[in-house]
């Protein structure tokens, strides 16, 4: 059982800020006027139903595409203004776990994890191997280091994806649907791992998910996006939102009430 985590002090520095962010694809508005900040060391959850733009928002936050409007700053940097070495330096400080793991199919798990270490540091092979082995051990895949991604299950792929995202001890870890498609025990294990990393290493987590159990177990703060409102409809502590929110969509989401 995961205990409710202590919320980081409200005075902690903001590591991610989004100010009036809007995203449009052609004539279609995904969301508009999204404003929030994420403080160092907290587990921040972006939640909402299917098609509300959670994954799009994540892509904006990690600099894969620019927002149509508004400003996003990650660790003080604006992706649009960063190029070359400065962009690489910022990329080194974040880690991303993709929904399906997104491991390279032709490399073993250990080689996949060595990849970012090789790209960003000058550590010798012995050090890279030790680090890969430690990261895999951390997510419980110590014995699968030499296996190929095609040979392991979906849950193992996700955990390997987290291990790769953790390779360089990032300050912020972005996770896209970490619990989706996992059994409750594996999912709870993953939640425990996220919490322990957040509390012990001070890593900030930004998690996109709609798994209710996960949100309540790990989330310090959350924002909720909604497709019909085309933007944010709630912000705050998820347990508080569950107990106190009067917004019909938020109530429906947390209490599984039909709308």
């Amino acid at each position: 059982m995961i205990e409710n985590p202590p919320i980081p002090s409200p005075g902690a520095e903001a590591v991610v800020t989004a100010q009036g962010v809007a995203m449009r694809f052609g004539p279609r508005t995904i969301f508009k006027d999204v404003t929030f900040e994420v403080r160092r060391g907290e587990v921040f959850v972006i939640l909402g139903g299917s098609g509300c733009g959670k994954s799009t928002l994540l892509k904006l936050l990690i600099g894969l595409m620019p927002p149509s409007k508004g400003e996003i700053r990650v660790l003080g940097g604006d992706w649009n203004a960063l190029e070359g070495e400065a962009r690489r330096a910022l990329l080194r400080r974040i880690g991303v776990m993709w929904q399906s793991g997104a491991l390279l199919g032709s490399l073993t798990l250990a080689e996949n994890i060595k990849l970012p270490i090789e790209a960003h540091t000058r550590l010798p092979e012995a050090a890279r191997a030790l680090m890969a082995s430690a990261k895999l051990g951390l997510v419980g895949l110590g014995d699968a280091a030499e296996r190929l991604p095609a040979e392991i299950s979906g849950g193992m792929l996700k955990r390997a994806g987290i291990a790769r995202a953790l390779a360089l001890d990032p300050e912020i870890l972005f996770l896209d649907e970490p619990g989706a498609g996992l059994d409750p025990i594996t999912s709870a294990g993953l939640d425990a791992l996220i919490l322990s990393l957040a509390r012990e290493t001070g890593t900030t987590f930004i998690v996109v998910t709609h798994e209710l159990a996960s949100i309540l177990a790990i989330g310090d703060r959350c924002i909720m996006l909604d497709k019909d409102a085309q933007g944010m409809i709630a912000e705050g502590n998820p347990r508080k939102l569950r107990d106190e929110s009067e917004h019909p969509t938020v109530r429906a989401f947390f209490r599984r009430e039909a709308m």
């Binding site: 199919g105 032709s106 540091t121 000058r122 550590l123 010798p124 012995a126 050090a127 030790l130 680090m131 082995s133 430690a134 990261k135 895999l136 051990g137 951390l138 110590g142 014995d143 190929l148 991604p149 095609a150 390779a167 360089l168 001890d169 012990e200 290493t201």
Partner: protein, 376 residues
């Protein structure tokens, strides 16, 4: 008070080696991060190898990341090491987490025994199994086609039309370009020796017969193998990876009848058309060259009419249809037998093109012998 060490307070060297009562002590202090570990890796390992018993003194380490922890653990593994843990909580936790996550003992790589007989046997069995798989797929395809033969309305004709469009209509521009160029090239190349005998008027026969009987079908099939065979393999391979093929099976639909038969039917039907485009454009290309050599189109057409028989044309088109059948079959088989993962789909596409071209050259050889024996 334990504070965060600023850069000014950090010792000049984050690591020192000294001997204390016969033990080599490697003392680390300050911020031990990845760049520091990378810079000091060689130096620290050289120092550690010098002595026997070892103490890793990390008491003064103020901050530690995975790279730094890897350095400490790697040194500790060099001998009988004794640890002095960091005094501060954060690096102590980081080191402990790193050590706990590592497997208890590094697994030694298993040496592979050298067993030539077993290896040859296993390889042979693999080949035989693959051959068996091919035969089974051929059988399934033939059976599915035979089952559909008396009930042609059960064939997915919309799908056949889509594939006819993709393999045929969309390949026309390429066929027109290649056909014209081949006609031009053949005419020019043959005009050189023919001119020595004053026999340029026979160029139309030479180009016409070689195009309709041989080059038209061959080039059209190479286009089909490159464009369509590989596309079949990639499409079906991806469907297999996405479990769409299994989904069809569980819905009680035969994947061969549903996916393979329309594709093979389309590639078979489309080949005579592509060949015809190659033939006609090739002859037009040849006529352009002939015009530059001073022979009007009427003279060329007269020659063709006299020497080119319907049999030549029909033989070529018939051959083309068989080539289309083979290329479609090879492409579908490569796709449906693909493994998992993005690499497997690429392998399937390559296999489809290579297999398709080999199959059509082998078939062409058989046709050459057959036509020669039959006197066609």
């Amino acid at each position: 008070m334990v504070g965060v060490h600023g850069p000014a307070q950090m010792p000049s060297s984050p690591f020192q080696a000294e001997t204390e009562g016969g033990r080599l002590v490697l003392r680390f202090a300050g911020a031990l991060d990845t760049p520091t570990a990378a810079a000091r890796w060689e130096e620290a390992h050289r120092a550690a190898k010098a002595g026997g018993p070892l103490t890793i003194d990390a008491e003064g380490v103020a901050s530690l990341d995975s790279g730094g922890a890897a350095l400490l653990v790697s040194l500790a593994r060099l001998g009988e090491a004794e640890w002095r843990e960091p005094r501060e909580a954060a690096p102590r936790g980081a080191l402990e987490r790193f050590r706990n996550a590592l497997p208890a003992a590094p697994a030694p790589p298993k040496p592979k025994p050298f067993q030539p007989l077993t290896n040859i046997g296993a390889a042979t069995l693999d080949r035989l199994r693959a051959l068996g798989g091919r035969m089974a797929f051929l059988g399934e395809t033939v059976l599915a086609s035979l089952r559909l033969l008396p009930r042609p309305w059960r064939i997915r004709w919309a799908e056949v039309l889509r594939h006819l469009d993709e393999a045929g209509t969309r390949a026309f521009p390429l066929c027109i370009l290649l056909g014209t160029l081949i006609g031009v090239i053949l005419a020019f190349q043959s005009s050189v020796p023919m001119r020595q005998f004053g026999a340029e008027i026979f160029i139309p026969q030479l180009v016409g017969i070689s195009l309709t009987r041989e080059l038209g079908p061959l080039l059209a099939s190479i286009i089909l193998a490159g464009r369509t065979g590989s596309a079949y393999a990639a499409e079906l391979g991806t469907m297999r990876v996405n479990e769409e093929v299994d989904a069809l099976k569980t819905m009680g639909l035969d994947p061969v009848a549903w996916l393979v038969v329309p594709r093979i039917l389309a590639s078979t039907l489309v080949m005579p058309a592509l060949t015809m485009v190659m033939n006609v454009t090739g002859i037009i290309g040849m006529m352009i060259v002939m015009a530059t050599l001073g022979f009007p189109p009427v003279a060329v057409l007269n020659q063709l009419e006299q020497w080119l028989s319907v049999q030549d044309l029909a033989g070529g088109l018939g051959k083309a249809a068989i080539f289309g059948l083979a290329i479609g079959y090879v492409g579908c088989r490569a796709g449906l037998s693909a493994g998992r993962g993005p690499r497997a789909v690429g392998d399937a596409a390559t296999g489809a093109v290579v297999g398709g071209i080999v199959a059509l050259v082998v078939l062409d050889g058989i046709f050459a012998i057959l036509f020669f024996r039959l006197g066609w």
